[in-house]
Point group: D2
Chain length 471, copies 4
């Protein structure tokens, strides 16, 4: 098939490598620039058209949908590998197994991937595998790596990350209740997990599970451990999948899973008992950047759809296409302001991680985590409104995108947790700020004194008992 829209030809259609904000350019290698354009061509011309095939190949009945593995995904994977688009997510600073890009460089690619339902998996850059691979690569034993990391890196199997639980406020990870108790040569797991994303896919063979090995440890951050649990281990039941605004996200899905005396060998623990909190803290940083950049891409896609709709010559309410109604141009502008500022925030956070690690980029990550979903939802919502009925139904990707976007305000910690953390950290500056202001006030008084001036209030009155006082 020849390319029906010339990706080089128009100034309104610069390739991705030419659209990078100038402030980010010094951080992007020549190789990454080239790869970025390959990613874009692959996503726009191969993956997005394939999304509809994926949807058809999944089928309709729930059970079938969660047993499906659309062939189109494998077709795309072959192409992606041929193009060298594979495992771009593994940052070169920390891992040798990836494609050798920085978090920032991959972030720019993730933006493009975020425009398609199939592109992330097609390039083996799909959550939660990405974070899971990072965990095993960073903390796993050689045996763990051989058993699980190798097939994950090859895209042969998939994985899930089981942390959230239904019965507690799991926005606070110290509340986790799933028990991991040592019995002889085994760790025995009991409890339940939900929002186990990816668990619906029959190719999901390994669960990375967070639980408590030492629930009574006085240090709340040493109670947790992370353990590798093969999906086929007896005692595990995927009771049901969770919907997101009516969508089941099959075959990937979000599982509600119970563990009933699930036994795994002792060597399945990662890094050691009590290291769970440390592990997940490192895991979440880059993952949030990935989510955020994919969300930026989704917002750009929604804006594309918005533009297409408001200039549709067949749709003229009150005699004018929508873009001629002034409020629509304002909405475009708002979207552009929000998207561009959000992108800068994420890229800045990516660099902060690249420069050091996720822990030292807490503030930048938190800002990105909170700002981006708000932008995404606002932009999609405007597009939905422009499409009217077509915006909420199956005829545009918008309603599904909104549903995904809405979960971004919840997953990996709800907005409120990040805002609270941001607020608390910033508030630590308060004492210094107060001292500085007080110093400046006192020095001001001294400067006046040195000049023989009194600090007279601009509205000094000095009126006594109804009269006027003397100065």
């Amino acid at each position: 098939m020849s390319v029906p829209y010339n990706i080089e030809s128009s100034k309104y259609n610069l390739p991705a490598s030419k659209r990078i904000p100038p402030i980010a350019l010094p951080f992007v290698s020549e190789r990454a620039l080239k790869t970025l354009d390959v990613v874009e061509k692959f996503v726009e011309e191969e993956c997005i058209p394939a999304d509809v095939v994926f949807a058809q190949q999944i089928g309709t009945a729930t059970e079938a949908r969660f047993a499906a593995h659309p062939q189109i995904i494998e077709d795309l994977k072959v192409k992606a590998k041929q193009l060298g688009l594979w495992n771009m997510f593994l940052p070169r600073n920390h891992f040798s197994q990836g494609a050798g890009f920085s978090n920032l460089e991959y972030g720019l690619m993730a933006e493009i991937l975020g425009k398609s339902a199939t592109a992330s998996e097609a390039t083996n850059c799909a959550a939660p595998d990405t974070g899971n691979m990072e965990v095993i690569a960073k903390y796993g034993t050689e045996a763990q790596k051989q058993k699980w990391l190798t097939p994950l890196l090859d895209g042969k199997i998939r994985s899930a990350f089981l942390m959230t639980e239904p019965d507690i406020a799991s926005s606070d990870a110290t509340n986790i209740q799933l028990q991991i108790t040592k019995e002889g040569n085994s760790w025995v797991l009991n409890g339940s997990k939900w929002w186990s994303s990816g668990a619906g896919d029959l190719r999901c063979q390994i669960y990375i599970v967070m639980g408590k090995t030492d629930p009574n440890n006085s240090n709340k951050h040493l109670q947790q451990s992370v353990i590798l649990v093969p999906a086929s281990t007896p005692g595990i039941t995927i009771n049901r999948m969770l919907s997101v605004f009516g969508f089941d996200d099959a075959p990937h899905g979000h599982g509600h899973i119970t563990f009933n005396n699930v036994r795994v060998p002792l060597d399945h623990i990662v890094l050691g008992p009590g290291k769970g909190f440390e592990i997940i803290q490192g895991r979440l940083g880059p993952g949030r950047i990935h989510h955020a950049m994919r969300s930026i891409g989704a917002a750009e896609k929604a804006l594309d759809w918005f533009l297409a709709r408001i200039n549709d010559q067949r749709k003229k309410p009150f005699g004018k296409v929508l873009s001629e109604h002034g409020i629509m141009l304002e909405r475009i502008a708002k979207s552009r302001v929000e998207i561009d500022s959000s992108r800068l925030v994420v890229l800045n956070a990516a660099i902060a991680i690249d420069n050091a690690d996720a822990k030292s980029a807490l503030k930048e990550i938190a800002i990105a985590k909170v700002l981006v979903p708000a932008t995404l939802l606002a932009v999609i919502d405007r597009a939905i409104q422009a499409y009217g009925g077509a915006g909420v139904c199956q005829d545009t990707p918008l309603a599904k995108m909104y549903s995904n976007g809405r979960t971004m305000r919840i997953v990996d910690g709800p907005d409120e947790v990040h805002m609270l953390q941001l607020g608390k950290n910033e508030n630590k500056r308060a004492e210094f700020a107060a001292k500085k202001i007080e110093f400046q006030r006192i020095k001001g008084l001294r400067l006046l004194e040195e000049r023989g001036l009194k600090p007279v209030d601009p509205l000094f009155l000095g009126r006594v008992s109804g009269g006027v006082a003397k100065l």
Copy 2:
């Protein structure tokens, strides 16, 4: 005076050079980093304490206030020159007369300057002189430079920029009406201008005036000229000053000025007749970056005051200091998110100008122009609310800062003009976006066909006359 707060000592008090967003760092030279910290020390320890002296030295009655020139300004200028803090605003790419910094580097300094009422003038970086100096340096003749640029660069005189007019919609510069007609060896000016900022200062000796030399030119952008008019030219009357909310901004102020047969020699025109539009377009870009970065600084200052207030141990409504009431931490976090994202937007625009020129950075400048004042006003408003009565009156700088900030949504083009421009430009992509979406749809159908699949709607019903149709 010994330093009462140790600018190096605390992790909550990193010097400015350590607070630069990581994404901006590659653009900042070692020299600029050092200068930045000198600027901060100068502003926090010298200028802000001096602000109160400035206020006292202006006096009270209107006429006196607009005849005042507070000595403290000259004292600060001496110190600033000693510290090498002079004319930092003139970008090294385009001018040899300045301190040799880029727009981005100066932007970071302007943020600090924006925290004080005296700092910008103390370092000869105050508007509108900055933009005026750029105009003369870039477009002026040698004679014009010698006469006006030299004393301006030395901080000996001040200047005003006269563009806005009271009787027209001057958000659209093509509406300008002041007449400039050639009579013999003179240009003769008739008309009126307002919001002539800086015209209140008796040291303001030169006006840069925009008017029409060719009002009937069919090209609306060739009708205007820019001309230099000495403030003492007969025929000029400063009728009154304009207040901002209830503030007069003396002695600088905002003048309402009439021109009645004001004659200047022919060589006072800048660049030539009909070049006015071209000149102001170049002038406004960097100026918007300066305004924006000073606004970022003002927002940081408001946040400092906010932090100081909500942790004031003497103020405990309902038994807790305000920071212990949850909503205050959320407001800190919102402010941090808004300030940090706005700063990135401005720095990115500064780099876009540094990389090429203001014209090619239109989008980035427009985004900064719109986003920053909204952030500034939101942050100040939260601080005002935390202070209650003290927030709106003379006891904090907040009400004055709010008033200044509110004008930022109006000066150099109101929000709406920039949003309209942003929206229109982005909308030019619409045709491409629509074509791309259509291509993807058609290619999707072909992919289905190739696989022998029909595109079945997920909610296909096919019910005929109350029954069910065949596929």
Copy 3:
């Protein structure tokens, strides 16, 4: 089953009749007050618990879901009739067939009905039957009434209203394209409709169709006609149902329907050819009030769920239940402010209709139409956020409520159309406003003159050529 929560006992649990805003009370009869409490008891104790049965009785596969008629609905209808809760929607001012309440009185009941998925149909007050019954009762012939109104009033059949079309901007009703041409003794319909809500239900036997009988009439509001079309007429195909986010709203649903030479007798037209626009204008007023009040009820329900969640003692992030985190109380308060102000707006519009008719209440209806969905979505969104994962999935009614609520910004005219109309109408006052302000200005000058005062500007300067002018 005994009542497990005593609806009379607590001051936090006043019955609906005691929660009416005082300003609305004079408009509510004793009989309506009593009925309102019966409605509440029926909805809270019978209908909401039945919602889950309804969901189970629909089944899973698409085709089955749209062939289902859950028995629980019929069970509830029997109870509702016994309680005298039937056809309350038909306003007493205009119709004799209803329960004899005003629009305001029914509005208060609709609020309660809006809390349950089954309550509106159980009391024969479900859209679109309500509006359709009004149309036939008001404009129909005796034959039309006997054939369709009688079984509709009895709840024996259901109906759909077919106006919106997929290929045009149908927010502007003059764009409607479905052709209705006279051929011999028949009207022949060709075209397509979508968002035909209710068409999914097999009991839906009659379509009220809007189309064009006179597409070339120079008066754009005389081109349209409304015609009654039995669902079983040959040539009609329900191609598919439309989803709302991922929900299908079965069995009711939203149909995409084509008309291919569909023939109905000439007497099936309502009121006469060319009367279509007039009919729908009258139809939409009360319908918007119903939607709005049900939305108020939904918002109250979401707030109930929010309260339940933030006080859940099992969910303590960071050691405190959510309601002890300050921001949650602020969110409750915001929700209360928004709900209570929105309710007043709707009730005021209902009275405006009761006092005269929908046409003279255009402004009030438009305000309600725009304000209420915004309130509803804001309140639900807060609840979703408080529930986290449970908020977006099938474990709470919130995601489904949000989806419904989102369509409220689109159906019966998108927000933008109503805002445009409101803005245009209000703008007609501009000339008078300008004249009034000018009069006041001139009279002020005269008052000054009479007192021998000159209007001196507060910042008068009058400085000439660098000096100071004389007054």
Copy 4:
């Protein structure tokens, strides 16, 4: 002067009595309707034109401004009395001395009064006299009434209410510190007050002061007393006046006052020691309604100015008057939605007070207190933006109105206090809400059981160890 704009003639210019929301009409007597139109004519045709005279008669220098008493006020008072517009604020339910209107009826009048700077005082309905008169009329002794209430009712003197203090968080009235100690036959006052509005006026002869007579009382609400203090009592100093965004609000003003051994006779206490809290609670309810309705009037005035500006034919940015740019119509509509909904909220609160008292209308008053200033500021801000430079300076009333409006979010308790109270009260319903939801859930399960149905999750999977479980 003949009426230059015919208040009866146009449908865009209905008199106030015809613009009352239909839902409020039953509460308005014929006499109030007539009076309302007289108020409107007086305000629009007499007071607003007089506002400029008032401003000129105050003068310029601070001391003079706070010694001024513009004659125009007395002229207007004569006219107002002739028209029967005097003391309309005293509600007929509780007082015999007023004009005999309800809080709702006066509320409608206060809306009109709120459009002028002079109208409230001209009709003796100005704060803080209104609340002060209510206090003395309700709680005062005969002697107190004769001495102070009579001249206040006659408009001969003015008064101030001294509650807020500079050194504490006085949003929480229990923090008040001013000491009132009994010494012999006197109460002796020591402490300081600020935001003592009205204290600037030389005619202000009586202060109603809140202080602590029993600071150690274990009941925090019995520590306070209210006491009458003549302004001329020795020991009182009005140190200075407080500005509001640069405005001094002279001669009324906001005083910062100190009490240094100020002695008043024992009989100057109101109602008795320890009754302070009770008194101010009753005082604030109607006052908040007055403020709110005046704010509604101010918002209407701002909208008038907005309309005048966006239709000004001399101001055409980009070739069109502003109202033809689509976003302006949307802003009109937003303003109309916000104003109309806010008005309903205030009127509903007024009726709640009329029906019983302020205490039982806490919720309704709090909603009005929070919602109205937000509306007012939003509407004025839009008008300022439309006017550009003219909007922030002395050429329109907008900047001054914004400044006043901004204080409305602070006076009589900041937004946050009211939101907290609203949130806490509403949260008391939580237990009931949770029980109701639980009841409904359990009853739903029972209904299923009765019908032999199992509650199957819509996405039931029941997959065990990678396979599929049996139901």
